[in-house]
Amino acid sequence: MTAYRVATGGLVDRSKTIRFTFDGKTVEAVEGDTIASALLASGVSIVARSFKYHRPRGVWGAGVEEPNAIVDVSGPVSLTNARATTVLARNGMIVCSVNAAPTAVSDRNAFIDRFARFIPAAFYYKTFMFPTWSLFEPSIRKMAGLGTIVPEGAAVPAADQVNVGCDVLVVGAGPAGLLAALRAAETGCKVILCDDGFAVGGSLLHRSCSIDGMDGRSWADETVARLHALGASVLTRTTAFGIYDHGLVALSQLDAVNGRDRLWRVRPGKVILATGAIERSLPFANNDRPGVMLAEAGLAYLKRYGVAPGRKVVVATNNSVGKATADELSALGISVTLVDSRNGSEIATVNGAKHVESVTLSDGSTITCDAVLVSGGFTPTLHLYCQAKGKLTWDETLQTFVAGAPVPGISVAGAAAACFDIALVVDSVRLALSQCEIDAGNTPASALSLPAFDISPAWPKAGQSGRVWIDLQNDVTAKDIELAARENFVSVEHLKRYTTLGMATDQGKTSNLAGIALMASLTDRSIPEVGTTTYRPPFTPVPFTSLSGARQETMLNPPRRLALEEVHRAMGARLMEYGGWIRPSHYGEGPMEEAAQREALAARESVAIFDGSPLGKIEVVGPQAAELLDFVFYNSMSSLKPGRCRYGLILSESGLVYDDGVVIRVDENRFIVSCSSSHVAGVHTMLESWRQDRFSTDKVFIHNATTAYATVTLSGPKSKAVLEAAGLVIDDATLAHMTTSEVSLGDLAVRVTRVSFTGDRSYEVSVRADQAERLWQLLSESGKPFGIAPIGMEALLILRAEKGYIVIGKDTDGTTLPMDLGMNGPLKSKRVEFSGNRSLLTAEATRPDRPNFIGLEVMDDGGPFAPGAHGIEMTEGRLRSLGYITSSYHSPTLNKPIALALIERGYSRIGDIIEVQHLGARRRARICAPCVFDPEGDRLNG
């Protein structure tokens, strides 16, 4: 057995030895130990260095409140900034103190503490200004931070995320939580009980008491068994860390073994907070020395882990529970000296450089000891109550904030309800249940073992001698609080931010109240007048992986997939994401640019096959369909003849070009809106909004059929021949450019629409999505004699650029008006209302120097312009942008560079030469029409 391990007792299995290393030295533990209990058992006193002054620090608490013992763990599990008090020791763990180099015992930055007087709270705001902060910052950054991220560290598995509802969520499985859960479950409620400890029981695990004739631990075990029998869920290692809108409570469950954590999103009908209370420190000099720890933690180490907090222990307290703790320790054979301020006896200072060696009392006497257990009172854990907008009130008798007016649906029980005496638990649970409208009957009061709570105030005082620590991790002392008061940082939020009180990883669980109390006395206010800072989630740090869950790689914003994806892959397609869809960029080996050139040329020379399935196919049906489309589109659609198609723009109410697309009028009352693939959801929503706002909802319906159909496009001079070879013979008179027809292709029912995004004769063939592969194979086979070539998006982008056709979002931006694209007609001629119409008359819309969509000719042999290059000019000695290049390629058809651009007054400058700048380099460009290939459009019927 190790130095401080007692022979018997505790919840550990002494027969199973565990070995791990701490700062390179082997530590022997037993099964059931936490890292902290094992370190204490082994007599490892200095487990950490403080954040700012690098003071030596020991274990302070026994749970989530721990401010000091923060460690990095590697080996069987990888943990950064783990609290040694909440991680079970495992064989082979490599545990390292954080913020200490090379070890916590011999930290080379320990010297900083000697200069502490020159670096008080917020000193950094007052210096490091000359010559500049950036000179000092790098070395200060290196000093800061606790644990270390290991870039190549073990992968942290994704956490599960579970949604669950219940009638009652009980947070905390101490005596109050167990009893509340049991009573609620007995009434038939669906109950979830959670606790952040390794085992249920809370204070029953270390305080002696008897309930219903059983000792506390046995009662806890039996209660859990009864809860299970009643169908309740009991979750250990599970922290309720946040309460969110509409009563959602988030629980973080840690899986010590596999590291596969779980986020529970619970929608409880009622919440009972039996979250206990956290002990506070006492204000004496050097109250941060290793060997000083919370009294309740000291008892917990003895009773739970069989580790004595010291051989000769001083218990310093100002309250009756602290005294009871001393009595229990004493009864268990620990040598205890009680220093109780209620009897006028107080510690003035702790002596000992690296560990407690003795204490000097205020009367000047000295007590030799190796541990000081402090109990400065208890603060109910009311974080969730406060997150739910509960208001705290000050209780002068108990010297703490307590829950004020009840928050609907949330009640508080046990020590969280400031019932620090277990005798009060039954009544407090009864009250909590009745506040939650759970009728648990008149359950009899059970055991009692402790006297009523008695406390005398013991807050830090102004001008106290020595260094009295308030916030251990962030090194905030009483003098820092005094400094903040002196400099008028007296609001509690200013106090926090100026001194960093409560901003460490423990968020001030053991320290905030002492700081607030000192500020109150310094500014002649009461503690409630100073108040608390805002309680925000999470109660304790939550693994990021629990929040992200499965959303990684393709599970993060899952992209949409083509029905033909496997076909494309089999053909050697390279896939990229375009507008949320995974689509072929090109086919075959080699660089994308070369493939795109090759494919574009093939399309011009013979025929290309292209998967256009993501293109929108929103059906608008009904007697008011034409009217609705007239409103939503800039261009008139009601004048369209059945069987014909028309290109149009959709404007937002701001007049901006939102989308473009072809509208197909299938028959009098049925249209298909072929919007951009990335705008389907938006256009659908827009159509629905106007439908419900302005039209009879029983006279026009909207159905988004985009994914119900696949569309395969044939384009090129041989496209008609391919269709004929596939068995479809339609002459140009029946199926002219911009018309549509429903026909049979073999046994496939298809819609064939003649629209072109390449400038060549094109057929868009749409088929039920489940028949897409058959259609693709049929057309591919039929096209073989004609040298049919599959083309990807990149080739299509080149082909359309040769024609000067826009791609929304590429050749337009969020400021483009239809007139900027040369589309003035509808504004002049349209007689009915349409979306965005009034916006086209503003001063901005009608200014003469708007950007216009034009082409740019390269004037040198430097190849294509860089997309994103700007046209520039000098105005009044200042460089100014005229607009920018939206698309730029080498045209394989014309064998020269082409470019499209939005340039100020472009239409009136056709033929002018402007300068173009990219990354500082300038070239010349001649403004031309956007369409540089087949401007007459002969090839549409070629």
Partner: protein, 89 residues
């Protein structure tokens, strides 16, 4: 996560809903007859109350627009109502 109640589909997660605008918000028709100020007021200005708000929302699962009354500080939802199907066509 807030729970909104679609009058057609029942209580659903906030992530299924899309804000449409203040309720009511009539569109001024009439092109040039509408002053720039009127149009800008319609297009841009918001009630944006701190407290009780009446708003139009679309439930993206069924695409129905409905009126929802809620409190913009506490996030309490006090009611949601289907709009009249009688339109002004």
């Amino acid at each position: 996560m807030q729970i909104f109640t679609c009058p057609f589909c029942g209580p659903r997660s906030e992530t299924e809903f899309h804000f449409v605008g203040d309720f009511p918000k009539p569109r001024p028709d009439g092109m040039a007859k509408v002053s720039a100020e009127m149009w800008s007021d319609y297009l841009h200005n918001q009630n944006n109350p701190k407290g009780a708000a009446s708003e139009l929302w679309m439930h993206m699962a069924c695409h129905e627009i409905f009126r929802m009354d809620r409190h913009t500080v506490t996030h309490e939802v006090t009611g949601s109502y289907a709009l009249s199907s009688e339109a002004q066509s």
